[in-house]
Symmetry: C2
């Protein structure tokens, strides 16, 4: 008998019938004798309706009132799911974020969790009840105001509650099956990973994988909460995200698996700053100004120019290009020289794996695979568990397939080799 | 500079445009320097949508969860109205029932107010803010659960908050202009009363007037909170409900006004219990059983029959007829005799007025007016401030017009006399 925290997102509770489905899933585990806490989001669409009404009344609604408004969406769902469980004979009660003891700072619309007590959840579980908790919301420790946690907030609620009640397992039900070695739409033999390390999941989150927000993974890592990402539309096991010791190579069922997967982020643009004074003060002026403006840069390289001048190239999220050019332009005006310009979109291909650090030759395999596929890369960035390269967006899918095959990440060793052999033909039109 | 509590119902905040209208009304008073607390209901339709979803999940939803669900409707409105005020430059903040310190018992879906602290409303008013309070909801003193106050709950919230913050005035905005001497659709020269006593308003509430639920008026009377019933669709003054001393005849502008108004309740049915043992034990068995079943009876008369048997006739709400016949039937079975049957629908005509007690001859004027109009009445009930009679539903409108004229309740004394003179002609088709 375990204590299980489950989280269901907005599409899983979108209407009365789907709420009944979730109730049936919860009942299955409850009937096995597990103690259950269920975190839910607002019905999909509700949050957008509330935002539309708010904006019709005020172009920039007060964030405190916005939180009070948005929290309503989850408050509806918890009561409805509780009723759906009652209807099939499962005792249940609902708890708002505040009553589940989710205390945050007062940064409305993007509050950060300060502490999670779990409220009276343990007592209600002792009474045999399933406890339904409103995701995405908390209460300010200082002001007593309702707060919301921002993007990915319901995942964060589930992991924080799992930590508070010392859950044995936290299951994040979503619209994907789990975490794959690569995007299965790009790589046909991509494999669902049975487990993955927190660090790898974090690198994937910052490398274009849309499965979860990094902050939820960070929270899980900090409090050592293992969680499973799995589909709410089938009964397949998903991917367990947990603490994996790289030295013990304990990743299940995967020989040679120094790499967990290959991620691709298409939304990057290269920015070149030319004719900058070649000194640390100038570089720090550029990066400090970008940091102050909340603009993240990645994959930086510096080239020495002539006459004590230098060029900088880095990548930014394409959405942030205009802001980046404005901020850097202001800095250059103060420095008295230099130009900033976009040098075109790039795709960032990342390989991620906690085993990388103890396996030399990973970079060699990566660059060899890219070369064999006829893909150039220029910007390169590395961490202990990641190597990322910028590639031509037109060749990005081919590059992912080639790298996936080179690291034998496919369904089986044989299948992976087969896919690797087949890939060049499939890719020839665009890679030549 | 006064402290004003205003209450707006669901139709007044039904959509974004109406919420803007309410904000503009609030701003008008706020600009005059008044301190403002505004109580709002859920947007009209929202509560019914929530109930429909609940019933789709469970035929008889848990009342605790139902309250958690329904409270969501008002939580949305308070945030939206707050934003609408911000948009027109009025500082405002929203408060749920719990944060406004509305503590209740744990009788979910029909909770009774235990105490009202007002929470931090005084401090927020001191900061110059308009405070928006969610109507209809409170929090259980014992369990910390959200509760709802049942029918008329938002009016009750407004009056309770007005009492807690010692408001100078409480304005209940609704879809009627105020309290009239009679239904203006029936009596063309019916007059809006500038003021009315709590007791009169209570008798009107129990005599078919739909303006307000009796419990809100009782609460206002208990804590001596004067309030005004007025329209949210125009700027006319409404009717002030307050403590009126009958001996000082202080009702404004109304000579001879021993009567405040004439009410009509069409939803009554006469029930006759025949052949009952003529003793107090039998009568109390009947009325105790009805009371235990929550069934109110009114206008009781007893006729002595033959052989130590008696007949009872009383009126009940027509909705409660079937339940009444079942309950009385069970009692008769235990008593070993007697029959119960419906004796047809009746309309209950009531005249209400605190001055009645010090003015003899009121009953004489009433029966005279009915006789002149050719209307018979049989069941009669009286209190210190009310006389009610059962009349034929087909003659009820004519009866109301005749009584209204006889007590000179019309627009002016002259107009009333004129209306009185005109009435017989208008009434002749049905009263002859």
């Amino acid at each position: 008998m375990s204590l299980i925290v489950q989280k269901y997102g907005g599409t899983s509770v979108a209407n009365v019938d789907r709420i009944k489905n979730v109730a049936a899933r919860v009942k299955t585990q409850w009937q096995r004798g597990h103690r259950m806490v269920v975190v839910v989001s607002a019905r999909s669409g509700v949050t957008n309706e509330l935002i539309a009404r708010a904006r019709a009344l005020h172009p920039t609604p007060d964030e405190r009132e916005m939180d009070a408004l948005l929290a309503v969406g989850e408050m509806e769902t918890i009561a409805l799911l509780s009723m759906a469980l009652h209807a099939i004979g499962v005792p249940a009660c609902s708890r708002t974020g505040a009553r589940a003891g989710i205390f945050t700072d007062a940064l409305h619309t993007r509050a950060r969790i300060a502490k999670v007590t779990g409220g009276d959840i343990p007592q209600r579980l002792d009474e045999g009840k399933v406890v339904i908790v409103a995701g995405f919301q908390g209460v300010s420790d200082d002001t007593g105001e309702v707060t919301t946690l921002g993007r990915g907030g319901s995942d964060l609620t589930a992991i924080a509650v799992a930590a508070a009640v010392h859950a044995d397992l936290c299951q994040i039900f979503t619209d994907v099956d789990g975490v794959y070695t690569a995007d299965p739409r790009v790589v046909l033999d991509a494999r669902k990973l049975p487990e993955i390390a927190y660090e790898e999941m974090l690198e994937l989150a910052s490398s274009g994988s849309k499965v979860m927000q990094a902050r939820s993974v960070e929270f899980a890592q900090k409090y050592n909460v293992p969680f499973e990402v799995r589909s709410s539309f089938n009964d397949q096991p998903g991917t367990i995200v947990k603490n994996l010791d790289p030295r013990r190579a304990e990743r299940a069922n995967m020989e040679d698996a120094v790499i967990a997967g290959v991620a691709l982020d298409r939304s990057q643009t290269r920015v070149t700053v030319s004719d900058l004074p070649d000194n640390a003060a100038a570089f720090s002026a550029v990066f400090n100004a970008l940091g102050d403006a909340g603009l993240s840069v990645d994959m930086i390289i510096k080239n020495i120019g002539t006459g004590g001048r230098a060029n900088l190239t880095f990548s930014v999220n394409t959405d942030a290009l205009a802001a980046t050019e404005r901020v850097v332009g202001d800095v250059l005006a103060r420095l008295g020289g230099g130009t900033v310009r976009s040098a075109g979109e790039v795709a960032k291909l990342s390989i991620v794996g906690v085993g990388m650090i103890s396996h030399p030759g990973v970079a060699g395999t990566l660059f060899g695979a890219l070369a064999d596929a006829g893909v150039n890369c220029d910007l390169i960035t590395t961490s202990e568990i990641k190597i990322a390269v910028a590639v031509d967006p037109a060749k990005a899918d081919a590059a992912v397939r080639a790298v996936h095959a080179a690291f034998h990440l496919g369904g089986t060793a044989g299948a992976a080799a087969g896919a690797g052999a087949a890939a060049p033909a499939a890719l020839s039109p665009e890679s030549k």
